[in-house]
Symmetry: C2
Subunit: 111 residues, 2 copies
DNA sequence: GCGAAGGGCAACCAGAAGGTTGCGTATGGA
DNA sequence: TCCATACGCAACCTTCTGGTTGCCCTTCGC
């Protein structure tokens, strides 16, 4: 149940990727509307194609998204596995906190 | 089920806070060991007191942690609610992605 | 009352991050 | 064949970020 240092590092990278409003919006859009190309995402996000490309590559580096070339367009899709991993990590942290509070309560009651 | 723009903004802030390795480690430590003071956290993180204070205040601004003055020490504790919120958001995104894939599959089969 | 421990505030610094523009390169369709 | 579309690469700029040091203030214990 205890996350490894490597797991924490990967999770930190994923959180950092999700921590930028434009990127989180892109993730949400991809998840909601399915795979789509760079230009469309750029148009909707209101930034240049190069800017959105940087964001998408950041998400890809974090393992949250995957880009596949199809003819002259690059199609992006959500990579749900890493998403599930970090979601689980948050659950673990929450649970650990509950445990810590319980131990604290027990210790106080012993006095 | 669809997250509001405000919810996305809050989540982005939380993710950004969690996206820094030192801060994620602090969160993990707080959750695992329970509430503790600034100096102890700084010592363990291997950075200066001022550095860790900035991190903790960042986490506090994101609603992930709360600092309470107790005598001359400032005691920090996890604020699990925002943590649960962002965890839930990740679940929603995952679910939306599954739906999108299913719609895609159905559309392909219609051809 | 005094020293040490825990903090707050501010200045400062180097590097990362987000964004833009410019330009050259493949690819699909009329 | 030609043109518009979708990209890749690179330079450049500005702002944000993580970290440090220096100094002064408050609180606890002896």
């Amino acid at each position: 149940m205890k996350p490894t240092a490597q797991a924490l590092a990967r999770a930190a990278a994923a959180f950092a990727a999700l921590g930028e409003p434009t990127r989180l919006a892109v993730m949400h859009r991809l998840a909601h509307e399915g795979p789509q190309g760079t230009v469309r995402l750029a148009d909707h996000a209101g930034v240049s194609r190069q800017a959105i490309t940087k964001h998408l590559e950041a998400l890809e580096a974090a393992g949250l998204v995957r880009g596949a070339r199809d003819g002259r367009t690059r199609v992006w899709s959500v990579q749900p596995r890493r998403l599930d991993d970090v979601q689980r990590l948050l659950g673990v942290i929450s649970a650990q906190w509950d445990d810590a509070l319980e131990r604290l309560r027990a210790a106080v009651e012993e006095d």
